[in-house]
Amino acid sequence: MKSYTGKILRVDLSRGEIAEEETREEWLGKYYGQKGLGFRYLLEDIDPTIDPLSPENEVVITPGIFGGTIIPNSGKLAITSKSPATGTICDGSIGGTIAAEIKWTGYDAIIVKGKANNLVYLYITPDKTEIKDAGFLRGKGTRQTELMLKKELQDDEVKVLSIGPAGENLVKFACITSELYRQQGRGGIGAVMGSKNLKAVAVRDGKDITVPDMPSFLSSLREIIKESVLIPDNEFLLSDGTWPFGDWMLEAGMIPTRNFQTGISPTYERLRSELKDTFKKGSKACVSCPLACGNYIEIDGISFEGPEYESLNMTGGNCQISDLKSIVQFNRSIDDLGLDSISIGNVIAFVMEMTERGIHDFGIRFGDAENYLKLPEKIAHRQGIGNELAEGVRFLSEKYGGKDFAMQVKGLEIPSYDPRGAWGMGLAYATSDRGACHQRAFTPTPEVIMNEIEPYTFEGKARLVKDLQDYNAVKFSIGICDFWGLNLDLLAKLVNMSTGSNLDSEELTKAGERIYNLGRIFNVMAGFRRKEDILPERLFTDPLPEGPAAGKVLPKGEFEQALSEYYRLRGWSEEGIPSKQELEGIEVDKEAIEKFEKYLSSTRYRV
């Protein structure tokens, strides 16, 4: 099929074996590329109950259908694994050029399992793949790793996925970095790479990607970019990147501040204005993206991309750090060490609150920039206090207390949107396939940005969350970035133009449901049930103290009702287990259904 390469690269690091196989074409027709294909291979290959840091776990790297083509906003790469932070299936995306580069090497997926004896890296070119010694990169940050690999391979154009010391030391929120400032941030897949002794994957392009009718492909795309991408609604991405999301959250009174103790930040507006007006020097795009949301800055001789909204607020206002230079220094450090900014911002804010409340003295309080700047190194190298902080907020709260304000779901720390100001987000966090994630169903857009629906109610939110999850599941599988809100008719048209297939939006809607259910199958088999689809107590009990959402708190009873309604809409049981009938209806493949049925009949758990 055009646009796919038809080939998968498998690497077994325990055996030192490299093999190519044909992509399962019947899965491409059901699960498409990035997220869906990653989910399907992981479900096939691993037992969902395994330890995520064991050699049996896999890292599945999928560039999607559109990777490497001229289709706008197709520069994301999905990396899927069983997450050491959550124990769920977890796909995360990373921008830059790496998705296209992998496509140009000729693979629909790279699947890595096992554990190497020594630290290694993979060098993948269209002609061959090698497992090479990475001893010289041990302990190096992602910046040095990438620059040293280019020297080692004598190729400035080689593209790299790498982990820093955090991944090597199995920090639960270790991320994977490419081109210095692009991260697959969430879920600790960097630690999975670390557990495999896999320091980096270096790839070099070379192969062609073809489409059925290039001249009409190009002329259609020119029109589509003009009509649907480079439009006034999207202009903010080039000028401001993701910073306006903070403006909107502040306006709605739901910008997490002091570990979610309030939704009003006294510093955000100043910080983002300083960044834009004084330090922004240019924009950086992923490959094929006309929107270019990356903010390239220079500040006192330090060059940096970011910090984007999430990073700026979670490591800024949420920790009550108000000095921009400290925040930039901190973010540059965590990018290099390979730490996820959302999670570390939560971890530090949590221990600050624990200390201030006198529950346990972690030696750091809100606003303590001096100690804040020391923590990334300690966490990444698991030194002193950093060793336990490296386990994340859930672990800390289970050991030292403070569970009610441990801002995490299923072990994944909550990003920079407080659901008390947009209740749909509460249901979205609870039902996300990888714990607290804002990219599965971003309800604040209709609730508080576009003001299309009432934010302080659960009415209608089950449907909204389900529909957005399904939409994103298929969009992130075919391979379009979050920031292009194209409709499914257009997405179907793009797939048809690329592959020669004949899909419509109805099929894509169903595919979204299919892919989302595939994740649920994995998670149920990994032991997840309704009781895990829950939020931290603070969101149910502590009203926001100020701003437009003052006094708002999520009513637990209504949340539970909305959760039941969500399960009903999905055809899941009251415990959140998909029914065979439902899975057949949305055409999950037979092998997957059989595997799931076998699991259900072998457990004492009754559906």
Partner: protein, 131 residues
């Protein structure tokens, strides 16, 4: 004729390279583009530059069969005269010439005066200068 490049506006999206390889070779493959954008992070910050034909005439002058012809604005290849020796590939100081699958060199030609890459640049950082 040459391409003027506004370094500060380039975002490194590669749409120009992709459009180039798609138009000339019918495939998406930046190695087959006739211009090259470099936008990468280096030790000291960010490096952004364009490599495109400067009409330096190195290829024209080194071609043993005089198969590469300049009209003063752009280059063309006389396929009858070309012997596929590949000397031009090594001669191009920008590294832009490569041998195609049909064994003929791909010669940058500004799309005969109407560069397709310019149409695709969303930031309008490529400008054609006609002397």
């Amino acid at each position: 004729m040459k391409l003027i490049f506004d370094t500060g506006k380039c975002t490194g999206c590669k749409l120009c390279e992709l459009a180039c390889s798609a138009k000339h070779e019918g495939v998406f493959n930046p190695r087959k583009a006739r211009l090259k954008i470099i936008d990468r992070y280096i030790e000291t910050g960010r490096e952004t530059k364009l490599k495109s034909c400067t009409l330096c005439m190195e290829c024209v002058e080194t071609c043993p069969t005089e198969a590469i012809i300049s009209n003063g604005k752009w280059l063309t290849l006389d396929e009858e005269l070309c012997t596929s020796c590949g000397i031009c590939v090594d001669a191009c100081p920008e590294g832009l010439i490569y041998m195609k699958s049909d064994d003929l060199p791909a010669i940058p030609d500004f799309c005969q005066g109407n560069p397709y890459c310019i149409e695709w640049c969303p930031q309008k950082c490529l400008i054609l200068e006609v002397e």
